[in-house]
Each structure stands twice: as structure tokens, then as C-alpha cells.
């Protein structure tokens, strides 16, 4: 336990606020009180240490990074409003389309409950399925013929390589041209 009022006086001394008579009294007390002497040693060591600390500076380009952040912050509300408008539009469109869709489904269900309609529906579905299978077969045969022809042709290879090179060049140019969103 430090002796009153010397603890407060030590603090006032560090702030340069202790009057001369009190300073002298503190001096006398410190000379005869080892406890307060140790406290004063620690306090003045802390004061010295804190006084010696340098200012830490940020990395170079701080103001530039600030400008980039400011620009980014400005575009953010526009993005938010855009997303909100899109979302509201989607909800509105769904609200418009849903009654029609539900109406169609209910009508189909009601029609399917009648025997004659069910038979007609089943035969129509079967005809559609067989037509789809025939078209798929034809597409498969055509694709096989194309692949065989392409592998044998040097022009196909040249075109593929050129397309790859163009894609790579496009990506490189876009990366150079389009600025980064943030520099920090």
C-alpha cells in the first residue's frame, strides 16, 4: 500500500503538475520510504519507456489505398440497390407466373381423372418418347462421324490450337486492362 498523498503526487510529478513545496516533501518521503521509492522507480521507468516510443507509420501508399476504398464504398450502395431491384423483379415475375402455372397443373389433373382423356394422354406420351429416342440416335451417329473426320483432319487441330491461344491472350489482356477492386 502506497502512502497517501504521495502516490497522487508521483503521478502529478510525471505530468509536471506538482508544485515545488510538494515536490520537496515527496523527495524527503522517498528518501526514507523504500516502498514508495520502489513504486516511484517503476512509475518513472514506465514514463521513460512510454516517452521513448516512436510513432509507427503505415506502409507507403496509404492515401492511394484510401482513395480506392472510398471509390469501392461509393459503388456499394448502387450494387445493393441493383440486387434489391433484381430480387424484387424476380418476386414480382414469380407472383405473376405462379397463378398461371397452378391453373395449368390443376386443369391437367382434372382432365387426367376422366378415363378417355387418360388413355389419349398415355398414347401421346408414348409417341413423344419414341420420337425423342429416334432423334437422339440420329444425333449420336452424326457426332461419331464428325469426331472421326475431325481427328483425321489437320485443319481441326489447327483451329483448336488457335482457339486456345486466342482464349489465353484474351484472359491476359483482360487481367491487364481491368483494374483490381481493391489495392490494399
Amino acid at each position: 500500500m502506497l502512502h497517501k498523498p504521495y502516490a497522487d503526487w508521483m503521478q502529478a510529478t510525471l505530468d509536471g503538475l506538482l508544485a515545488l513545496p510538494a515536490r520537496r516533501e515527496l523527495e524527503v518521503h522517498l528518501a526514507e520510504c523504500p516502498e514508495c521509492q520502489a513504486a516511484w522507480a517503476a512509475l518513472s521507468a514506465v514514463d521513460r519507456l512510454l516517452g521513448d516510443q516512436p510513432l509507427v507509420a503505415p506502409r507507403p501508399g496509404f492515401a492511394g489505398r484510401f482513395q480506392a476504398r472510398l471509390a469501392e464504398r461509393r459503388t456499394r450502395p448502387r450494387l445493393v440497390w441493383g440486387a434489391l431491384a433484381l430480387g424484387l423483379g424476380a418476386v414480382g415475375a414469380a407472383a405473376l407466373v405462379m397463378p398461371f402455372g397452378l391453373g395449368l397443373v390443376f386443369t391437367a389433373l382434372r382432365a387426367a381423372q376422366q378415363p378417355a382423356t387418360s388413355l389419349a394422354l398415355a398414347s401421346s406420351l408414348s409417341a413423344t418418347a419414341s420420337l425423342a429416342a429416334t432423334i437422339l440416335d440420329a444425333l449420336l451417329i452424326a457426332a461419331q462421324a464428325l469426331v472421326r473426320g475431325a481427328v483425321a483432319s489437320p485443319w481441326t487441330w489447327a483451329a483448336s490450337i488457335a482457339a486456345l491461344a486466342l482464349t489465353g491472350a484474351w484472359v491476359y489482356v483482360m487481367r491487364r486492362v481491368v483494374p483490381e477492386g481493391r489495392t490494399g
Binding site: Q11, A42, A45, L50, V56, A57, A63
Partner: protein
């Protein structure tokens, strides 16, 4: 151009004028953030956020008050908010023992001096990190910027007596930590009359 002129132009919407203010205050604000948060990346982020907030709140700035204090106030509150979010648990003075403080040991001569200085900086940062955020900000403003009690009170939005009490408590806590390091007795303290002369 004077600071008042830059502030006036910035308030009128001149972004270049505000950027000039950013350049003028980047180091003090970054240093305050670094001393409060103790981590370079977070300090950069906090300092940037301070300037963004200042820019967006320029209309609420009272030009009769010092711009520096207003900026410090924004930075200080932002850092304290960040620290609260971190949910740090403050170590009590009675907790674990601290390693001996390098500043209280003998000064190393010659080429080792830089390394000792770095150690001292890190040790001081570690000690600061053990203070409560409100106490820490008062210490930083008093020692790094030499702000008066009134200015600190304005920047921390509190009273002068609260500032005084926080400063004394913080300095006392740091002194206790230094004493705990066990090396305080190895260096004699200067007599108060020598320090306070004049």
C-alpha cells in the same frame, strides 16, 4: 494550404483536399490504431476505416474544434469497438509473472542496440495490450501525441477527471507490471525534483 482551408474545402466536397488531410494524419491515426490494436494489418484497416468515417461524417464536424481531436475521437471509438468485438479477456495484475523487461536491464552496446530497441518496442506493446481499452487510449494520447487532459477528454468523449483517473490507473498498472518483472530495482530512479524542474 492551411489545415482549416483543407477542412473547409473537404466539407464542400473536394476529395483532393480530404486526401491531403489523409496524408497529413495517416501516421498519427495509424500509430494510434496500432498501439490500440497491436497488429499491423488490423491497424491499417482501422486507420482506413477511420478516414472513411471521417469523410462521410464531415458535415457533422464542428470547425471551431480542432480537427485532430475530432479525428482521434473517431479512431479511438472505432478501435475500442473492434477490441470489444474481439472479446479479449484482460489479465489481472495478479495473474502470471511477466518476463524481465528489456528496458530495465543494462543497455546493450554497439550493434545490439537496434535489436534491444525493437525488443523494448515489442515489450511495451505487450504491456499496453494488458490494459483495458479505455485506459490504453488515454496512455497513447498522452504519450504519443502529448495531448492535454482537456484534449484527451474531448477525443475520448469523457470528463477531465475521468481522463486523469484513467491515466493514473493505467500508469499504475504498467508500473506494477514492470515491478513484477523483478528488474525495477536494478536501475535507480531519478529523483522527482530533477524531473520536475522548471
Amino acid at each position: 494550404m492551411s489545415e482549416e482551408g483543407l477542412v473547409r474545402q473537404a466539407r464542400a466536397g473536394d476529395e483532393a483536399a480530404f486526401t491531403a488531410l489523409v496524408e497529413a494524419y495517416q501516421t498519427p491515426i495509424y500509430n494510434l490504431s496500432y498501439r490500440m490494436l497491436g497488429e499491423a494489418r488490423e491497424a491499417e484497416d482501422a486507420a482506413q476505416e477511420t478516414f472513411l468515417r471521417a469523410y462521410s461524417q464531415l458535415a457533422s464536424y464542428d470547425p471551431t474544434r480542432p480537427f485532430k481531436t475530432w479525428l482521434f475521437s473517431i479512431a479511438n471509438h472505432h478501435c475500442i469497438d473492434r477490441l470489444r468485438k474481439r472479446r479479449l479477456t484482460w489479465l489481472s495484475l495478479e495473474d502470471d509473472d511477466l518476463p524481465p523487461h528489456p528496458a530495465l536491464q543494462e543497455q546493450a552496446p554497439g550493434p545490439e542496440a537496434a535489436s534491444v530497441q525493437r525488443e523494448q518496442r515489442e515489450a511495451m506493446q505487450a504491456l499496453l495490450a494488458r490494459l483495458a481499452p479505455d485506459d490504453r487510449s488515454v496512455i497513447v494520447m498522452r504519450y504519443w501525441y502529448d495531448l492535454s487532459y482537456d484534449e484527451i477528454a474531448e477525443a475520448t468523449r469523457t470528463t477531465v477527471s475521468a481522463v486523469k483517473s484513467r491515466l493514473h490507473r493505467a500508469r499504475g498498472s504498467l508500473a506494477e507490471m514492470v515491478k513484477k518483472s523483478g528488474a525495477a530495482a536494478s536501475r535507480p530512479a531519478p529523483q522527482p525534483a530533477l524531473r520536475a524542474e522548471g
